[in-house]
Subunit: 435 residues, 3 copies
């Protein structure tokens, strides 16, 4: 399997995902505003996304949809008129959700509104102030140290007004109404791995699923973190009972190993499917228990919502130095890594799509495989035929209690081999599905 994973990276889809990231990179996103709308418009060129505008002031559980934030420009100039930082160079320079400001301030006062990273003095950190009115700038610490006494002109040309929050949604209808939720956040400005890699993966995953005819219905959400998932959940409580499981997609473009954060339950079909796909991926990976911190799985897994939602990333948030800085840029994510991640997600869904529980229709002793063409002809050799082992596993464990995925896990064989064996046995009328 590892061979084809590598091959995937060379195909065109990695390049297509990367090109989408390039196109989305310059846009200044936040939890509300035109940046999100532009982003979803571009995604809509690939998949038929629906958008929902939720008005400012809408009550969503314990929260209220905030005023809409938009920004056109921002800069600091020193007393000689020299530009210190400019939003046009990087939208990270403006504190995200900064209130408008147009003032001349002393260096001392200015410093109370500046955010830098001492640890990475050349990088611009990413900061937000959603729920406390403030203005501010983020900048390289090295530049900050050079600031001289004197007055500074600060301008943030932003608006914070009644408007709406924009949620993107795509339902890929399957043969069954039961749903799998796939969620990615859309609220980060020019940050590639944390945000755009997830958007790109979901876009191309949705595209591929829409072209297949899946068994499950897949609901893709492209939403701002926290307030977005809370809002969607509050407005769609009637849909929750139908959601069998879900996964949060982000941080899939760096070159770190895959890291799976389990569902709160920790032992669901999704957990098994992800672990199986990773075990057979041929590369290293890491698995972690659920903790109530991270991305929107926090909301999906709150005790009153209680969906079983995992999160599959490469290097987890906060564990790579570029996290939430200007260094999470177009150099940090790679086409082949994006493509490889897409393949892993596709394999996970292929497992979920193909997973069934069967009853062996010839449960007393093994059936005679030879006369059904399921047995190699000359017995006695030393090697085991792989497919034949899969056939024996499926026959023995198709006792109504074991799904094919459980059989794959117990046997150590790849799910694809088990699924193929079940197909061969179905053709011989040796299995029937347990519904």
């Amino acid at each position: 399997m590892s061979g084809s994973l590598q091959a995937a990276g060379n195909g065109g889809v990695g390049q297509e995902m990367y090109r989408l990231i390039v196109e989305l990179y310059p846009i200044c996103r936040s939890i509300t505003g035109d940046g999100v709308r532009q982003t979803l418009d571009i995604v809509r060129q690939h998949i038929p996304l629906t958008t929902h505008e939720v008005p400012t002031g809408t009550r969503v559980f314990d929260w209220v949809v905030p005023r809409e934030w938009n920004i056109r420009g921002a800069y600091i100039k020193d007393s000689k008129g020299r530009t210190i930082v400019d939003f046009d160079d990087s939208n990270l320079h403006a504190l995200n959700y900064s209130i408008p400001v147009r003032e001349t301030v002393s260096l001392e006062e200015l410093k109370q509104h500046l955010f830098t990273s001492e640890r990475h003095p050349e990088w611009v950190p990413y900061r937000t102030s959603y729920y406390r009115e403030d203005w501010g700038f983020c900048m390289a610490h090295s530049r900050y140290l050079e600031l001289e006494d004197g007055d500074y002109e600060v301008t943030i040309d932003s608006t914070l007004e009644n408007g709406s929050m924009t949620l993107g949604e795509l339902v890929v209808k399957g043969q069954r109404s039961e749903e799998i939720l796939v969620s990615t956040h859309t609220c980060h400005p020019s940050l590639c791995n944390d945000n755009l890699s997830g958007i790109a993966l979901c876009t191309f995953l949705a595209k591929q699923l829409a072209e297949s005819r899946p068994r499950y219905t897949y609901r893709f959400l492209f939403i701002p973190g926290t307030i977005g998932s809370i809002t969607w959940l509050a407005l769609n409580e009637d849909k929750l009972a139908n959601i069998r499981m879900g996964i949060v997609v982000t941080l899939v473009g760096d070159d770190g190993p895959f890291t799976y954060k389990k569902t709160r339950n920790g032992d669901t079909e999704l957990d098994s499917a992800v672990l199986h796909a990773l075990e057979h991926s041929g590369s290293g990976y890491d698995v972690r228990q659920f903790i109530p911190y991270g991305y929107d799985e926090r909301q999906y897994s709150s005790p009153g919502i209680n969906l079983q939602v995992g999160c599959l990333t490469r290097t987890p948030f906060g564990e790579f130095p570029q996290y939430h800085t200007s260094a999470d840029n177009l150099d940090f994510v790679k086409a082949d890594k994006l493509a490889e991640a897409l393949v892993v997600y596709q394999r996970i869904f292929a497992i979920l799509e193909g997973n069934r529980t069967y009853r062996n229709r010839n449960p007393k002793c093994e059936p005679q495989l030879g006369r059904r063409g399921l047995y190699d002809k000359i017995g006695g050799e030393n090697e085991r035929q792989l497919n034949q082992m899969a056939i024996l596993w499926v026959l023995n464990y198709s006792d109504e209690k074991h799904s094919l995925l459980q059989i794959a896990q117990q046997s150590g064989l790849p799910f694809a081999d088990i699924r193929f064996a079940a197909d061969m046995l179905l053709r011989c009328d040796l299995l029937e599905e347990v519904v």
Copy 2:
């Protein structure tokens, strides 16, 4: 315990087992035919085996009892009349279940009917063709490479005709009707470890059990692999409910460590008993999960039969180079290894025989052991008396929920010590059996 295990090897029973193997070695066995009958006749000189003849054509679940195969000779001669291989040298030379043939063929055609082992060029491999009509010869690869162009005279003096398949069975009646199944296969020709070691062990185990007065009833099956167990199961479905557990015996004469393949359930009383015996055997051993491949445990553990059957061997099949070749011969099995294996099997059955669940009749605090003679007289010393620990374990855990075997496993003490402590406590009326 290891001391007595070693001692056992020096006793006479190992030699007796080995002598039985020597006697059985030359016979050409298969899944049907006179070879099996001769084998069971010789076993019957030791234990009062019953045989069942099941006619060709009998339907047994998904299978049909095949025609009976017998063979008197087989050879290949080159154009100069020189013998290339001869059944009289080794019955492995004839493809087992080969149809009769009497032809002159070219080297090219001959080669399509020859089986060799490139990895072990001096050994003759063992091959069968039970369910596909074919003829063939097995030979050393080194000899095969020397074959010169030209015509060859091939003769296989075999018959494949309506007849019957022979099953051997011995029921050792116990105090209870509940049964333990002990199964060994009888279908391999001149192969010592894979086949004859199991037959020898079962013979002497049955003999010893018949001389004791066991609690369980023991049912020994001496049957051809696969078709034999399927046939016995199909013809004896009414007996299955009475079988509490079972074990498949084979490959017990080489010098590899014991290897236990667990029951399908994996956590039965048999599994505990075998593991306990092995843990306290003083030598290394290996334990494996159930897989639906191997010997007749495959059939016994099929979902519609669902007996709890393990398999205790030394080196497992396919994991020693001599497996299914002419090198699995009289040099490969040893009297002391056979005797040691018999001791382990006897200990397992001693555990099962002695395992009971009791109720402590003085459950409130410890009883005063001193006035019952169950306590060493002067308290305060540093060492624990082994027997006294066993007494305390049995008293504390005889709460109707723990069997003696479970107490042995939890305490780490040998089952014999726990059983002895229970006997002492029974004598003082401090225990009563929970039925």
Copy 3:
């Protein structure tokens, strides 16, 4: 936490505990007699202990309260009148519960009544003979080897007469009637770690608990080992249903790591509390499964009593060379080690006192923490705020199924942080207790 543990050792309580041990050390205790009464009288200067006198001959389950033993002196003199051993030097010289004797005996006969330790030839071993009438002396093996042939005058001025056994008890009333049992033994003569350290710890633990206003009711027992707990249990069977858990205190003054012996169930709230306190203690520790041997947990955990009782010591009995010898003296126990042990016990009880189960009153998604002052103001930074993680853990797992202690264990956060987060959430009406 380790910082404060060390600090604790420097405080005065360790010195106070040590002084109490110094005061109790010379007294010759046994399972009955004035030694125990004097001991409890001294303890009563610290806490309002109640004592019960249980008459000789009282039937207690399978046992009978023995005659009362008292001793005034004991010695061996050689034929020249030189004193070989003298009770006045160490009460360990007299076999504990020795019957009176006044005789002249040969060296040969004397030797049948002498107990020494070859392994530690300078130390006097501690031996008892409670339930078999005997007389004897314990002495250093080195001295024993010097004994010369000849007659010896042996005198043991003891009495073994009808009387009573003395049990000490203190109930610290809590808000609830549900009880936690704390038990220590009082039957060892001049032995510091095994006996006096437990008495000292229980004394100061009871004092501190009586000054707080605990939720649970705490029942402290100061009793002779085995016969004392059996007697208390037999006379107080009506109280058992009220006892939620218990702990046996002893061996807390040496400098070995803490060792916790689990309850028989092995997975109770007490086990979790002790393990949590030890995990966060900053020092190494050892955990062991329950075995039906040791101190009075043997009786409390007998199947008919079935209390869940653990035992927390430092080095376990029999695992330090000084155990049950004259070397378990005032040099062997240390004030700082006693104080550190007291702190660990206090933390365990603080956890049990503070452990509750809550229901999240805002279970659908996270509540908005910011407007309640529970969120750091500027998002986006790399570090996690510890308290905020505790808040998220409590919110997510307050689903009626997880206690705060379980949340602490699952999160890896100290119980104190989790308890503090719950307090903050209670203040915001975000939690309600599940009763």
